[in-house]
């Protein structure tokens, strides 16, 4: 073999190894979720396939006893409102900052810029007091307000796009008698579609997966989102790995479907989201 053939083989080997490392833990959990209680208890080993690969009993248990229906409902509500709000707020901010000159504009820009440097986890102790004093603690509005109020990245993404929309469009509309709100609604917002798609994807996945904020702000049982509801499996099902695994698969499955369906946009979205 030539040197380059060896190198090529090593590259493939490393990729296959990485694939195994990624897929093995997930695959084992899928297998475990299909096992019966006896199968997990008798210590036949994690790598043995389930006796009956169509045994969905654990999924039923996890879904019903784990309150997953409420969890998906709560998550959907929070997701819809906060992603919608983020799109609206981000695009309005970007429009105001890019298309107007006004006093304190530099200061406003600086406020958003500096806020981007402050990681949310560090200020949570004090944020908690504010959320509490606003009466939002243990309601679905606490995470919604926090998700909407702290998303600087989406403002950046919108700003990039607003800047690329020619100002002559605004001017032409203005000549037609449109005011700033009409221009925003009828010209800017529709032209922001690619940016909106990016923000919806990045924000949507972040909200769906977030654990910290719902965990701190919504301790009530019936306010569980999918993260916190799944976390509660730790108590009652402590040794029942087949149920916990089924719960984990239930939570990951929607992500997998969305990922497979929107792969290209998700890659693009995350690249844009992280590099601003």
């Amino acid at each position: 073999m030539t040197r380059s053939a060896v190198a090529r083989a090593l590259v493939y080997l490393s990729l296959i190894a990485a694939t195994l490392v990624v897929l093995l833990p997930l695959g084992v959990v899928v297998m475990t979720s299909l096992k019966t209680e006896n199968e997990t208890a008798n210590g036949s080993g994690a790598l043995t396939p389930p006796h009956d690969p169509l045994n969905f009993h654990n999924y039923v248990t996890a879904f019903q006893d784990g309150g997953m229906l409420t969890a998906f409902g709560n998550t959907a509500f929070i997701l819809l409102v906060s992603v919608g709000g983020t799109v609206l707020i981000g695009s309005m901010t970007a429009y105001a900052i890019d298309r107007f000159t006004f006093r304190f504009r530099k200061l406003v820009v600086a406020l958003f810029l500096v806020a981007a440097l402050v990681p949310g986890v560090t200020t949570q102790v004090a944020t908690f007091q504010i959320v509490h004093s606003l009466g939002m603690f243990d309601t679905r509005w606490a995470p919604i307000a926090l998700y909407m109020g702290t998303d600087i990245v989406s403002i950046y993404i919108f700003l990039q796009f607003v800047r690329s929309i020619p100002i002559s469009l605004d001017e032409a509309a203005r000549l037609d008698g449109a005011n700033a709100f009409t221009i925003y609604r009828k010209i800017i917002f529709p032209l922001l579609k690619p940016a909106i798609a990016t923000v919806v994807i990045v924000k949507g996945i972040a909200v769906y997966n977030d654990f910290y904020i719902p965990f701190l702000y919504m301790p009530s049982q019936d306010l569980g989102v999918i993260s916190t509801s799944l976390f509660r499996f730790k108590g009652p099902y402590a040794a029942h790995w087949e149920t916990i695994s089924a719960g984990a698969v239930l939570v990951v499955l929607p992500t997998l479907i969305v990922f497979l369906a929107l792969q290209k946009y998700i890659y693009n979205g995350f690249m844009r989201g992280a590099t601003r």
């Binding site: 590259v11 493939y12 490393s14 990729l15 990485a18 990624v22 833990p25 475990t32 210590g43 080993g45 994690a46 309005m92 901010t93 105001a96 298309r99 107007f100 820009v109 958003f112 810029l113 440097l117 990681p119 986890v121 200020t123 949570q124 102790v125 004090a126 908690f128 007091q129 504010i130 606003l134 926090l146 909407m148 109020g149 702290t150 020619p166 002559s168 469009l169 605004d170 032409a172 203005r174 000549l175 037609d176 008698g177 925003y184 009828k186 010209i187 996945i205 769906y208 654990f211 701190l216 993260s227 916190t228 799944l230 790995w241 916990i244 984990a248 990951v252 990922f259 792969q263 590099t275």
Partner: protein, 324 residues
């Protein structure tokens, strides 16, 4: 369609024609207008910024200000009474051994991020050249970064269990062990840091991949003509080309390592010496009602992260920050 009419009616064009002729202007210069219209125009941007600014100040700046204020008190977060204690909380953080040890835990995550960046860089380079099943490998590497943290925590609790997946796999290679991977501080932290590599590698990988693909292809062709092999191409084309993303990743990794929370909290709850800075702060504030001390800890963490960011900006001036 939303596009404006190309020929506006004559009666409206009259007085503004002259402005429309200079589209370079950022904002349309206000036409001589009655007082009310002018106030309205001054107000317009603020109407758009009302909600965003209110949220920004309520949930970012007010907490920071409060947090700094709390950090000099002994407040418990509930009682109306609080006493000014000066810098006592800060002294406590830096002198109490058990409080300070969380910084050593961050070390495990820092080492993990170095491994993660190197591996991500390797896979991004390899997969940016033509290779079979490229999209499959891309998808597999990236997917973990989209998965719910709690699910990941459970997946790996099962993985590292006594006689769990990891032990079984090691057994296949003839290495029989009955090791409690999460049982001793060192191996627990190594295991948790390993999980965080598993989880976040894909994100770095995709960032690097995007940056590498934005490098013009002619550069490689030219280099190949000059007889440069892959290693030279990596060193002289790829590495300089992705420098901005690389530094961004480094700073995100440092602040991520310092603020690790989800994986250790879900998997061990901070037991066996795996407590991180954020777990400790959450416990201080919400279990032991030491809001003052927790605030001081949070201020320290914030200052460290801001310092890292500042150093990074000094070392590698980012000319792409062009917000205004």
């Amino acid at each position: 369609m939303a596009l404006p009419h190309p020929h506006p009616p004559a009666h409206r064009t009259g007085q503004r024609n002259s402005e429309a002729a200079t589209p370079v202007q950022k904002r349309l210069a206000p036409a001589p207008a009655p007082r009310r219209a002018r106030t309205w125009r001054l107000l317009t941007p603020w109407l758009f910024l009302l909600a965003p600014l209110a949220l920004l100040i309520t949930f970012t700046y007010a907490p920071i200000a409060n947090m700094v204020a709390y950090s000099f008190t002994d407040w418990d977060g509930v009682s109306p009474e609080l006493h000014y204690t000066g810098t006592e909380n800060y002294t406590e953080i830096f002198t109490r051994e058990d409080l300070f040890q969380v910084f050593w835990v961050s070390g495990y995550y820092l080492v993990a991020s170095v491994i993660q960046i190197v591996a991500a860089l390797y896979f991004a380079t390899v997969l940016s050249f033509s290779i079979r099943f490229r999209n499959f490998f891309k998808g597999v590497l990236f997917f973990p970064s989209l998965v719910n943290g709690v699910a990941i925590g459970f997946v790996f609790l099962y993985f590292f269990q006594d006689g769990g997946t990891f032990d079984t796999v090691l057994g296949l290679f003839g290495y029989h062990t009955d090791h409690a991977w999460l049982g001793t501080p060192a191996s627990a932290n190594v295991s948790l840091a390993g999980v965080s590599i598993w989880r976040y590698l894909g994100m770095n990988f995709v960032l690097f991949l995007g940056a590498i693909q934005s490098i013009p292809g002619e550069l490689y062709e030219a280099a190949e003509l000059d007889g440069a092999d892959r290693r030279h191409q990596f060193r002289h084309i790829i590495l300089p080309g992705i420098k901005p993303v690389l530094t961004l990743t480094v700073i995100l990794s440092v602040s991520g390592s310092l603020s690790a929370f989800e994986i250790p909290y879900i998997m061990t709850g901070g037991a066996t010496g795996t407590e991180t800075f954020v777990i400790q702060t959450v416990k201080l504030a919400f279990q032991f009602n030491k809001t003052g001390l927790a605030s001081a800890a949070a201020v320290v963490l914030l200052l460290i992260i801001l310092l890292v960011t500042w150093v990074q900006r000094r070392l590698v001036p980012d000319d792409r920050v062009d917000l205004v």
